[in-house]
């Protein structure tokens, strides 16, 4: 079980499922019985602009926002948004981007890249795969379950 607060930033562009991915991650941590906070700026996000969502979990979480240079992991769904978000990562932090899917055993469909990247992230976090699957099911309509569970596992076995 996690003893310190883990900070994950999910970033990308409006319409790429950034908020959905952060919902799934926050829900997975929540299902672990951890304290969780998640924060992002909505509003203009559907208009294709930059979106970033902060997810923090651990025994006790205070501020909902991750200060620059303190993210343990950074997921960027849009390749061209890596540079503008890199400053949030701490030294030695893990960057997960569509490039991380290069070694995936199958092709990830464009609309589930967000969930596939959670699959990559899952290999560095201490959350059981069943919990991830439950969180994916709980946050998506049933008709999207199969595709996204597949994408998650493609991401999980990429490297």
């Amino acid at each position: 079980m996690t003893t310190k607060v883990i900070n994950v930033v999910v970033a990308g562009l409006g319409g790429q499922g950034v908020v959905k991915a952060s919902d799934i991650l926050a829900d997975a941590a929540f299902r672990m019985g951890l304290d969780v906070k998640k924060s992002e700026i909505h509003g203009m996000s559907q208009r294709g602009g930059s979106v970033a969502s902060d997810v923090r979990f651990g025994p006790v979480v205070h501020s909902p926002m991750i200060p620059a240079g303190e993210a343990d992991c950074l997921i960027v769904v849009a390749p061209d948004q890596v540079d503008v978000n890199r400053h949030v990562l701490k030294a030695g932090g893990v960057l997960v981007s569509p490039e991380s899917l290069a070694g995936s055993p199958g092709k990830v469909q464009a609309k589930s890249v967000n969930v596939a990247l959670l699959g990559v992230l899952s290999t560095v976090l201490d959350i059981p795969v069943e919990t991830w699957e439950d969180a994916i099911r709980a946050n998506l309509a049933e008709k999207h379950h199969r595709l996204n569970l597949e994408a998650f596992h493609l991401g999980r076995s990429a490297n």
Binding site: A26, K37, S39, G43, S63, V84
Partner: protein, 545 residues
């Protein structure tokens, strides 16, 4: 609200307010959509509460006040600038007082993630004399909403619950504690001196208000929202809202006094706290309100440098304030700005207005993005509805060759919100060169996430309602020149219509109607469901059921 593990839930602050309102027996929720407040009424409706969108915030608060006069617990929601619209109601509602608990949510937007200004609505509590509570996370959003309803009834006063973007939209864990209930149900009780604010009744009402506020201040001293965390005596922090969370993060050793009941202030508790620590820092987002008031009481407290008045606070900025770090903050590379969607029906409108070199008096909504490249086709944008008045003002004074190019552009929801009076001004005081008002009707309140309004003909839950027809309104108000067109239609119809209207020198209204590309599939679905319902009804009527 998917995540639920035993009695823990992972909720946004907005969802937590809705849940509390439902659990505390709120009978009516009303408001106008506005980021970051919009999700409250949607969640309240999903939980089975009676919720409705009003045409604007003033009407919402009036409806809420009437419901409260009638004895119902009532929730009224809006964003910070919406309170400006509702302020006329608010100031005098503080005099009339209320019967059923009335909670007004003010969702402020420090940093302007999606707003035209970052006004600090804690000022309204002071200006109007309204009790204010400020939650710091979703649990407090839940607890304080319940408390606010009870406090409202206890003092027979409206209560403002001030939230901010990071409280409204952050998700954190909520446990559904039982909330104080009311045992009274709606029933009209005549009380003319309290409810009719003629000067003779308003004078004593103002004295009653000040008396109630004095009692509220005494109540605040020991209430559950004034939260003392005693730790180190070397550093004390006084804070409210999400700043409390940043303070705990950055200075875990500091003593913290959270002013969850932030107006009127529990001055004795504050005085005792300040005396108990060697150094006392006031952490507040936005305007230096608390620090100014505490200093006026003669308390030796530190505030923040002026530069932190701008934008949100976060852990790093709080650290800088506490460490008196005056070094420059890191400059964050700007991300990609939002833009009008590919296939958005506003695009050809702004392309055309730019091509025709129009002077565009704009308004609040998705279409404000017409100001950005490649369009750069908006010259003013101030507040909801201002497109019409500002456009008319320009027309009145500019030289004719410029005046003739002025166009007011307003969205459908914004027109319902604040455009009707502007249109009345247009017909009543017409500029010599005439004027053109374009209503960009995309069939939804798009910017805030596709909410309904009176012009869509559907209720908050997307069920059929009486539709206000813009063309009929314009004609009824005295505009003869009314044109309806599809801005995406083939050919030059849009450009020709604008050119002709501008050349006519008359008062003209062009309704450019095409559903928002994001909302269109849902609108078709709502229409289909409504149609099925109607035909089922017809069938059962025919069968004599």
């Amino acid at each position: 609200m998917v995540a639920k593990l035993s009695d823990r839930m992972l909720l946004s602050g907005d969802e937590a307010v809705a849940l509390a309102a439902r659990n505390a027996g709120v009978l009516l929720g009303t408001g106008y959509p506005g980021t970051p407040s919009t999700e409250i009424l949607e969640a309240f409706a999903q939980l089975g509460g009676k919720a409705q969108w009003a045409p604007n915030e003033k009407v919402a608060l009036e409806v809420g006040l009437g419901a409260s006069f009638g004895g119902a617990r009532t929730l009224v929601t809006m964003k910070h600038v919406g309170v400006n619209v509702a302020a006329d109601v608010l100031f005098t509602a503080a005099y009339t007082g209320v019967s059923g608990g009335l909670v007004l949510i003010s969702a402020d937007d420090p940093g302007m993630a999606s707003s035209q200004n970052e006004q600090d609505n804690r000022q309204y509590a002071r200006a109007a004399g309204v009790i204010m509570l400020e939650p710091a996370d979703s649990q407090q959003a839940y607890d304080f909403t319940g408390a606010a309803l009870a406090i409202s009834e206890h003092f027979a006063q409206p209560v403002m619950l001030r939230m901010t973007t990071r409280v409204c939209h952050s998700k954190s864990i909520v446990v559904q504690h039982p909330l104080p209930q009311t045992d009274s149900s709606p029933d009209f009780k005549r009380d003319i001196p309290s409810r009719v604010m003629i000067p003779a009744y308003a004078r004593p009402a103002h004295r009653r208000l000040r008396d109630k506020l004095a009692r509220a201040a005494a109540y605040a001293e020991t209430c559950a929202q004034t939260i003392l965390e005693s730790r180190s005596a070397s550093l004390g922090i006084i804070a409210s809202g999400v700043s409390v969370m940043h303070a705990r993060e950055v200075a875990p050793e500091a003593s913290i006094l959270q002013l969850g009941f932030s107006y009127p202030l529990p001055m004795q508790a504050i005085r005792t706290f300040v005396a108990s620590v060697e150094r006392c820092v006031v952490l507040e987002e936005g305007d230096p309100i608390l620090v100014t008031e505490l200093r006026a009481e003669g308390l030796a407290v530190e505030g923040k440098p002026e530069r932190f008045r701008f934008g949100e606070l976060n852990a790093d900025r709080v650290r800088r304030i506490l460490e008196r770090d005056e070094s420059a903050e890191p400059v964050v590379q700007p991300g990609k700005p939002p833009a009008l969607c590919e296939g958005c029906s506003h695009r050809p409108v702004f392309e055309t207005l730019k091509r025709l070199d129009c002077i565009v008096s704009g308004d609040i909504g998705c279409y404000t993005l017409g100001v950005l490249p490649p369009f750069t086709a908006m010259d003013t944008c101030v507040c909801m509805g201002a497109s019409i008045g500002v456009g008319l003002g320009l027309r009145h004074v500019l030289p004719p060759e410029q005046a003739k190019r002025v166009v007011s552009v307003i969205g459908d929801s914004t027109f319902m919100h604040s455009g009707l009076t502007g249109l009345a001004e247009m017909v009543y005081n017409p500029p010599p060169t005439g004027h053109l008002l374009m209503i960009l009707d995309n069939g939804t309140t798009a910017m805030t996430g596709q909410q309904e309004h009176p012009g869509t003909g559907r209720s908050l839950l997307h069920e059929p309602a009486t539709r206000v027809v813009f063309e009929d309104v314009a004609r009824a108000m005295g505009i003869d020149y009314v044109v309806t067109l599809d801005p995406m239609a083939q050919g030059n119809a849009l450009e020709e219509a604008i050119t002709a209207a501008l050349a006519s020198g008359k008062l003209a209204v062009i309704v450019a109607r095409r559903p928002c590309i994001l909302a269109a599939p849902k609108i078709r679905q709502y229409e289909k469901i409504a149609l099925e319902k109607t035909s089922r009804c017809a069938a059962s009527c025919a069968a004599g059921e």
